[in-house]
């Protein structure tokens, strides 16, 4: 916890009528202690700007702490300070004590939103293009609300994956678990530029997309732990999560690419302007069926955005060792391509917007290569350091982390405050904790559902169990 100065007009705290307004303005962990006619001012030196909570040393020793201890409250009407968390509690406790002695109450916080920038323009890296006359814009606008929403979603994704890591190590999650941390900007950036009525399909590193496409953290985590509250009732696991207009979660490398083109075919067949975003990795990019799909998608001008998430390693094989050409955005040969900075959410968003326009204009498929990075190994059974160096991972984390990049942009352009972002962090942490709690306590699926969901819309059938006398029931 740390605190800093904030100045606000005194008028907003003047009248007792405004107490209710203040209560609404003040967010946890701030607590309104009471309204008073006076103000409290504590000046806290810069040296207290750090993580740990420490005793507050007022800058004006003769004024405040002594005053509080002695039961006096010093007022400086022209400014108001607010403090965070435990600091606030301490001060407000002290102040309350003072106030009671003084017969007056103490108010300690106010915050105004008046001074945030609501919109700013950012420069993003220019995308390399292939068979395109122009590329996506390099000047990108983001609003404060958008920024906060992206931050929240990416942070939720990050924390969810880290929690999954924890649960896997505790053996509460089993089997395959391919984590997405480091690549958040891709999922969130793409979703920012497509509509809920568009479609998306990806491979097995799918938790992030399940979230952006409408899954809940609870549903995802409970699916990972194999419980009945899971998004696929515990029957699919990490790689087989589905929701509306999201076709998983696919375990066979590369198989999702023709599926995605098929979804796009359906979009066009039905006469809609919907498109399908079809993702695969740098490893999958060498699969034959992908080239078959490129051919048919281009031939039939299907509205599909092929996206290669190039995180530099296909399992343990680096791109140089797997591909004769690592220019994945050019591998579509007759399909126009873009190479995008996948760690910058705004770059991803802008490129996706460009690609979506291309598809919706009926120009056929387009290919995007997102250059991104995964912090974890290929899956939870891969420590991820036998084929790459820790230094490399550290370097990406420190220089290119997508969440940090966004955070810096928001803060340095005064689009959000540190406290606000911290608040989001706290909320996210709580959401993840609650979800993990649910995921570990929800019961497993009931055994009598073992054989259900073999066929859709079919009468109940009998399914042979492990022995001839085991006749199990299956309903649609």
């Amino acid at each position: 916890m740390y605190s800093r100065w904030r100045y606000a007009p005194t008028s907003c705290l003047q009248s007792a009528n405004q107490r209710k307004e203040e209560e609404e303005v003040i967010h946890p962990p701030y607590q309104l202690v009471a309204v008073m006619h006076h103000f409290v001012v504590c000046q806290l030196p810069k040296k207290f700007h750090k993580e740990e909570e420490e005793e507050v040393e007022p800058a004006d020793p003769e004024g405040h702490s002594k005053a509080c201890v002695e039961g006096r409250v010093r007022v400086v009407p022209s400014c108001v300070v607010f403090v965070e968390g435990k600091m606030l509690t301490n001060i407000s406790n002290v102040l309350r004590a003072c106030a009671q002695r003084n017969g007056a109450a103490a108010v300690v916080s106010a915050r105004t939103y008046a001074d945030f920038t609501t919109e700013a323009t950012f420069e993003v890296k220019k995308c390399d293009t292939f068979k395109l006359d122009e590329g996506p814009a390099t000047q990108v606008t983001m609003t404060r609300d958008e920024g906060l929403q992206y931050y929240r979603t990416m942070q939720t994704m990050r924390r969810m994956e880290l929690k999954a890591d924890q649960l896997y190590k505790q053996k509460i999650i089993r089997g395959f678990c391919h984590l997405y941390d480091g690549q958040e900007a891709c999922a969130v950036g793409i979703e920012a530029s497509i509509k809920p009525t568009d479609h998306l399909i990806t491979a097995y590193r799918a938790h992030g997309y399940t979230l952006t496409r409408g899954g809940t953290v609870k549903g995802i985590m409970a699916e990972l732990t194999g419980r009945r509250g899971g998004i696929a009732k515990g029957k699919g696991g990490s790689m087989h999560m589905y929701c509306k207009n999201f076709y998983g979660g696919n375990g066979i490398v590369g198989a999702q690419v023709p599926l995605g083109a098929g979804v796009a075919l359906a979009c066009r067949y039905k006469g809609t302007d919907q498109l399908c975003v079809c993702l695969y990795g740098d490893g999958a990019a060498n699969q034959g069926q992908i080239f078959e799909t490129y051919n048919m998608a281009a031939l039939w001008k299907l509205p599909v955005i092929f996206i290669c998430e190039n995180n530099r390693y296909g399992m343990g094989t680096s791109v140089e060792r797997a591909a004769a050409s690592t220019d994945y955005f050019k591998r579509g040969e007759f399909i126009p391509g873009l190479r995008v900075d996948g760690m910058d959410i705004l770059c991803v968003r802008e490129a996706t917007r460009f690609a979506a326009e291309h598809c919706r204009a009926g120009k056929g498929p387009i290919l995007m290569e997102l250059q991104t990075y995964r912090y974890h190994g290929h899956s939870m059974s891969d420590p991820g350091v036998s084929y790459r160096t820790r230094e490399e991972i550290q370097e990406v984390r420190s220089k290119s982390d997508p969440i940090s990049l966004l955070k810096d942009r928001l803060l340095s352009n005064n689009m959000a405050s540190v406290e606000e972002l911290k608040e989001i962090d706290v909320e996210v942490r709580k959401e993840i904790e609650d979800a993990a709690q649910f995921a570990t306590t929800d019961p497993e699926p009931p055994l009598d559902e073992l054989c259900n969901h073999i066929f859709s819309n079919s009468p109940p059938v009998e399914v042979r169990g492990t022995n001839p006398w085991a006749k199990l029931k299956s309903v649609s």
């Binding site: 515990g234 699919g236 078959e292 649609s476």
Partner: protein, 360 residues
């Protein structure tokens, strides 16, 4: 009269060329002669008309009228949107078909022969068959994979394999294998209307064979339930169970055996998965003897499954002798005619096996 006409047409040889007429020929008041190819064609035509979401894709299905002319005339009638010629990319177009099914359409994916489906078998099994289960009911896949299966004539090893056992092994798939025109029409309509992945195994040698079809079977909503076998011939001494082309051979063998006083009951499976075990069991409990006949290889095949199921059920106690399997020879299909002829069950092999089973 109808029976003798049928026997005449099927007299032990490979019929292929009675399909000189493309249209119908009326032989009696209510019955009409339709060959299997036309039955399939009409079924697809009617289903395309009935439901806009149905479409056909595959190699040569449109402008070529179908490699075996099964989709003749459909492209002219429905156009490029609904009858789609694909490049030679089985894995790719099968995946595209499955994706389209996931997104709400009802594709018919044709494999020129099921031998080529091996290129795409991952999409059939992992993307189509298993998805409804993995998604716990969120994502159905209403798709039909169809095409000729099994041996043809002189096409040698890579083009002659029977895939009934391969596909029937997998939960999540329905596998059907029609024999005559009525089967073809009713089962294809049922398959297209089914909300699940169906593997529809045709037979190239049957395409040109005409069969009588009743008015009822020619009606627009005629479907045959998937999972129900049909007793083609009632009998008392032995049960012959078969699917696809070999049902015809069983009936021919039954005709010959009848003259020798052996009364055969012939069951046409129609569906391989789910297998209609009750029908077989009921028959075995009556006749006490069972002979299975198929074109596929013996090991781990349809006949093997039937044997296992009979053993596990009540009919076992009614068997007076072990079940006999008549199958294709356990070799890749050779080319030379004499070798090819001896690689598949012939009527004489069925007769021989029945007599051995009955110990006569």
């Amino acid at each position: 009269m109808a029976t003798s006409l049928r026997c005449f047409l099927r007299s032990g040889k490979r019929a292929g060329l009675v399909a000189a007429q493309r249209g119908f020929s009326r032989s009696s008041a209510a019955a009409v002669q339709v060959n299997v190819r036309d039955a399939l064609n009409q079924a697809m035509d009617e289903e395309l008309e009935r439901d806009e979401r149905v479409f056909l894709l595959g190699e040569e299905v449109a402008q070529y009228d179908g490699a075996y002319k099964v989709s003749r005339g459909l492209w002219k009638k429905y156009g490029d949107k609904r009858i789609i010629d694909t490049p030679i990319s089985e894995m790719g177009f099968a995946g595209i078909a499955v994706g389209a099914a996931m997104a709400g359409l009802r594709p018919i994916c044709e494999f020129m022969t099921f031998n080529f489906s091996m290129q795409a078998i991952d999409q059939v099994i992992n993307s189509a068959a298993k998805t409804y289960y993995m998604s716990a009911g969120l994502q159905p896949v209403p798709i039909v994979f169809r095409g000729p299966n099994g041996a043809s004539a002189g096409v040698a090893a890579q083009h002659s394999q029977c895939f009934a056992a391969w596909y029937a092994h997998c939960p999540g798939l329905k596998v059907v294998s029609p024999w005559n025109s009525e089967d073809a029409r009713g089962l294809l309509k049922a398959a297209i209307r089914d909300d699940n992945p169906v593997v529809f195994l045709e037979n190239e040698l049957m395409y040109g064979v005409p069969f009588e079809m009743s008015e009822e079977s020619l009606s627009k909503n005629f479907t045959i339930p998937i999972g129900k076998a049909k007793v083609e011939r009632q009998g008392a001494h032995v049960t012959l169970v078969s699917h696809s082309r070999f049902v015809g051979l069983c009936l021919d063998a039954a005709a010959v055996l009848a003259k020798e006083g052996v009364d055969c009951e012939v069951i046409n499976l129609r569906t391989i998965r789910p297998l209609d075990v009750e029908c077989i069991e009921g028959s075995v409990m009556k006749t006490n003897h069972l002979v299975t006949v198929e074109g596929g290889w013996p090991q781990f095949g349809v006949g093997a499954e039937i044997c296992a199921r009979i053993m596990e059920g009540p009919a076992f106690n009614y068997l007076d002798s072990p079940v006999t399997r008549v199958t294709g020879v356990d070799i890749p299909m050779p080319y030379a005619k004499i070798l090819e002829d001896h690689s598949l069950p012939q009527v004489k092999d069925i007769i021989f096996s029945v007599k051995k089973t009955l110990n006569v």
